[in-house]
């Protein structure tokens, strides 16, 4: 047996080695930290590589002595144990040398850290708010604000459709930022702790309710940079990606123009009534983006944490309660207030959809309150009411 072991082991290693080469030949899995596109990410990368090589050198040194000893001083080769078991000078030396190496590592690390801490003189300030499970971006000076949701279709998540290149790393509305300008990020959260992480920018900041944390970036190259929430934040923690679109300052200015113009010149006409068919169609799409992550496309939810909407008391009961639930959410649960994220038209469409989908409009079964259509005007008046109540 004894002699078979080395042979056995070397065969396994060979097998693994070859498999490793093959598998990495046809897939371009990256194996190191990205160098990134900001001064911060370059600094981090340089530090990372420095410590890495220091560790490798110490490792090579220690492991060589170890391997040498294991080969040289084997009992089976007749090694006789020496009789030393203490040497104060040697021991102090190998405490002091690592200490000096550590000092050498600490100096550049401290410098980088202090540079990172400086968020003064920003050109653009963006507030980032983590929600279960999406990000909200507010451009404080430009008055732009929107949510950014995962846009990978459910069919891909459930393996019913082939996964596209940016599976789980794509959103409906990316964060748009200018290059060459100092962007200050203010990071916080609405419900639980999240963490806003974009490796290429060298930024990871925990988003913590009640706190605002700062960070900054000056991006060097236009491009699309992707990241994910890095702090466990509940069931869909793995499904709240970040996409940053870095564009030239001119393109950014144009984008800002477009966003703000769209807002003022086209006041939504909430008086306009829509047909039920129209509402249902619009509602289904909106439901898939905003609600299906918790309540599921089939309306079955994930009880008991996330209730089913199929046959639910609220979705088949009085319309007023249904609208109120969507507008104001339920504090202290994952059911957040949607009034900031969705317009009156959107909510009208979603509520209408929910009241008809999955057989919820079955009046013989659920009573005469079930079903019905909701128009934007009704949502608007309820929204006004709830704001009024708050003020009192």
């Amino acid at each position: 047996m004894k002699n078979n072991f080395p042979v056995f082991i070397s065969r396994i290693c060979l097998l693994l080695g070859s498999w490793f080469c093959i598998s990495s030949a046809y897939a371009e899995s990256r194996i190191n930290m990205p160098q990134g596109v900001t001064p911060m990410s370059h600094d981090i990368y340089a530090l990372h590589m420095m410590i890495f090589w220091i560790c490798v050198s110490i490792g090579v040194l220690v492991f060589s002595v170890l391997i040498y000893s294991l080969i040289k001083f084997r009992k089976s080769k007749g090694a006789v144990p020496a009789d030393f078991h203490e040497h104060t000078v040697v021991e102090i030396t190998w405490a002091v040398i690592p200490f000096l190496i550590l000092v050498a590592m600490a100096i550049p690390a401290t410098k980088v850290l202090m540079r990172m801490d400086n968020t003064d003189d920003a050109d653009v300030t963006i507030k980032i708010v983590g929600y279960q499970w999406k990000w909200k971006y507010e451009y404080l000076d430009q008055g732009i604000s929107y949510f950014s949701n995962l846009s990978t279709p459910v069919s891909q998540l459930n393996n019913q459709a082939p996964k596209n290149e940016w599976y789980l790393l794509e959103v409906d509305r990316p964060l748009v930022v200018p290059i060459h300008q100092k962007i200050r990020f203010l990071v916080t959260a609405n419900d639980v702790i999240h963490s806003w992480w974009v490796p290429a920018l060298g930024i990871k900041r925990d988003a913590i309710p009640g706190y605002i944390h700062e960070s900054w970036a000056r991006i060097e190259k236009t491009g699309t940079y992707r990241g994910q929430c890095a702090e466990l934040c509940g069931v869909n923690h793995g499904f709240m990606p970040i996409v940053v679109e870095a564009v030239t300052p001119e393109a950014f200015a144009a984008w800002v123009q477009q966003q703000t113009a769209g807002k003022t010149s086209l006041p939504p006409d909430i008086k306009k009534e829509k047909s039920q068919a129209e509402l249902l169609k619009q509602g289904e799409t909106l439901y898939t983006t905003h609600c299906a992550i918790c309540h599921k496309p089939e309306g079955t939810g994930m009880p008991p944490a996330f209730p089913a909407l199929k046959g639910s008391v609220i979705a088949t009961g009085p319309v007023k309660n249904h609208i109120a639930m969507v507008l104001n959410g339920k504090p202290g649960t994952a059911m957040q207030a949607f009034k900031e994220q969705l317009s009156d038209e959107d909510i009208a469409a979603i509520v209408t959809y929910e009241r008809h989908a999955w057989g919820n409009d079955d009046t013989p079964r659920y009573g005469k309150e079930a079903g019905g259509t909701v128009q934007a005007a009704q949502v608007a008046s309820q929204r006004a009411e709830s704001t009024h109540e708050k003020l009192n």
């Binding site: 194996i31 144990p81 009640g210 008991p304």
Partner: protein, 532 residues
């Protein structure tokens, strides 16, 4: 070394027969060996339970897309896997080793507080039943990670969280009593002539561990009690909306959590010191510095907790302080590794299973130490934090660190405990399969983390597929290889394998090897004489 004057004065210990008799014997036992055995079996069972959970996690991550379990269940798996491995496997195993070995190594008949000992064990099965019962409740089992950060675990936690809280209270109670017992035993029960600086390093490492336990378990109890109050009694310790502070939770948790990781590794240092010295047939190099290093690590462990929170936005000076303190831990840890290597250097080495595990410990624990050093550099940690790089790091220090040391200890002392030699061939297979599969599992995780894969996600982007596959394959080999360990232990306990004498290993030193194998029920009824 010492020889024991051991006039074998064994009481007639009638072990009762029949179901109730056997149950009563184990339920009411106050004997350190019985209790040690109970601890070790509990740990062994939980190892397979926690391991099965790990395999569910790895199976789900074999390829992208929703596959086997829902994200909800996945989160429960990561949470319970962590809690069980820390509190149900490594800690009980270390306490089990302490129970068996400390009295034998210091020349005592038993632990100082035998009834307390009984109680501190028998609390645990209840604690773990409580924890596991959460799977059968309406609503999810705890699903917020083993670090149970507020407010995810308080305002947003499932109902079953309360059961986890009480379970942790019980575990804490058990650990505190165990620690008191270890300290009382070491301070009061040493054979005459065994001064503190003559104690085996394993005993020293446990003494320091016991003080760490006393220092931090009450803090953990405090943290979960505050959670309970936030959940039910209207307080807002951790609730920002009520004027509380979610970061406070992290401070309290990691003030416990960081020393806790040294609680898991310190006794392992002790085991490795014993094993390396025995199979190199050479006294441990730098005994005094080894002790100083253990004490230094223990002290430092109290002032490094915020390195788990670098991205949580703590002030610059605080970050610098915790970075420097954390880097300092590398100095005493380095001394330990260098001294182990120096012990092997110019020894006369043989490669029985305990030594193989100890050598793997030296290589792989050191690698975990390197990634730890990388993590201590704050700016770099901004990229590593909460990624698979961290997962790789702590699995490298916990499996080849703590778990390998436990395996080494079992192979090393099992012949002493049972009077029979384990099957060396099977042990070697176990070793090689384990050490290879562990690297297949965890080495690729470094790459995954660096390339940007966050931890605790049930599904991932396509670019991470390759390494996740490799890791999953490794995990399954690792998991199933442990059956060899189980079989080997059961065979040995049941008396298969050749009988062994008092001194099982040629190079072994220490009082336990002066007792017959298996040792008498009350280890040293007459204190041995300590020479030298």
């Amino acid at each position: 070394m010492s020889t024991a004057v051991n006039d074998v004065h064994e009481h007639e210990h009638e072990h009762p027969e029949g179901f109730w008799g056997v149950l009563g014997r184990w339920l009411f036992t106050t004997n350190h060996k019985d209790i040690g055995t109970l601890y070790l079996w509990l740990s062994f069972i939980m190892f397979f339970v926690g391991g099965a959970m790990a395999l569910v996690i790895r199976a789900e991550l074999f390829q992208p897309g929703a596959r086997i379990v829902s994200p909800e269940f996945f989160n429960q798996m990561t949470t319970l896997h962590g809690l069980i491995m820390v509190f149900g496997v490594v800690m009980p195993a270390m306490v089990g080793l302490a129970n068996w070995q400390i009295p034998m190594m210091i020349g005592a008949p038993d632990m100082a507080l035998p009834r307390l000992n009984n109680w501190s064990f028998w609390i645990l099965p209840f604690a773990f039943s409580l924890l596991m019962s959460t799977f059968f409740m309406s609503g999810p089992a705890p699903d917020f990670g083993w670090t149970f950060y507020a407010p995810l675990s308080t305002t947003y936690g499932p109902k079953s969280t309360d059961f986890m809280i009480f379970s942790i209270h019980l575990m804490g109670l058990s650990s505190i009593m165990g620690a008191i017992n270890v300290i009382a035993t070491i301070f009061n029960m040493r054979a005459p002539g065994m001064t503190l600086m003559k104690m085996p390093i394993f005993v020293w490492s446990w003494l320091v561990t016991a003080f760490l336990l006393l220092g931090v378990m009450p803090v953990l109890a405090g943290a979960v009690t505050m959670m309970l109050a936030d959940r039910h009694f209207g307080t807002s310790f951790f609730n920002a909306a009520g004027g509380g502070d979610p970061i406070l939770f992290q401070h309290v948790f990691w003030f416990f959590g960081h020393p806790e990781v040294y609680i898991l590794i310190m006794p392992a240092f002790g085991v490795i010191s014993e094993v390396v010295s025995t199979f190199s047939r050479k006294k441990i190099f730098g005994y005094r510095f080894m002790i100083y290093a253990i004490v230094a690590i223990a002290l430092l462990s109290f002032i490094v907790w915020a390195h788990h929170m670098f991205t949580a936005g703590i002030p610059l000076v605080t970050e610098l302080f915790f970075m420097y303190a954390t880097m300092l831990v590398a100095v005493p840890t380095g001394v330990k590794v260098f001294n182990w290597v120096a012990t092997i250097f110019k020894g006369s080495i043989s490669f029985e299973a305990p030594m193989l595990f100890a050598i793997a410990f030296l290589f792989l624990f050191t690698m975990g130490g390197f990634s730890g050093l990388m993590l201590s550099i704050v700016p770099a940690d901004y990229q590593y934090q909460d990624t698979y790089f961290v997962v790789a790091h702590f699995h490298y220090v916990l499996i080849p660190g703590s778990i390998f040391a436990i395996m080494a200890a079992i192979y090393y002392w099992l012949p002493k405990w049972t009077g029979h030699m384990y099957n060396e061939t099977m042990a070697k297979w176990h070793f090689w399969l384990t050490v290879i599969s562990i690297n297949i599992t965890f080495f690729p995780m470094h790459f995954l983390g660096l390339a940007g894969m966050p931890r605790r996600i049930p599904d991932y982007a396509l670019q991470f597929t390759d390494f996740n596959r490799i890791a999953t394959i490794g995990a399954f080999i690792f998991g199933f290889s442990q059956l060899l360990f189980l079989i080997n232990v059961v065979r040995t306990v049941r008396g298969h394998g050749p009988r062994v004498g008092a001194k099982v290993w040629e190079g072994a030193h220490g009082l336990e090897w002066t007792l017959p194998s298996p040792p008498p029920y009350h280890s040293f009824t007459v204190p041995p004489e300590i020479k030298n």
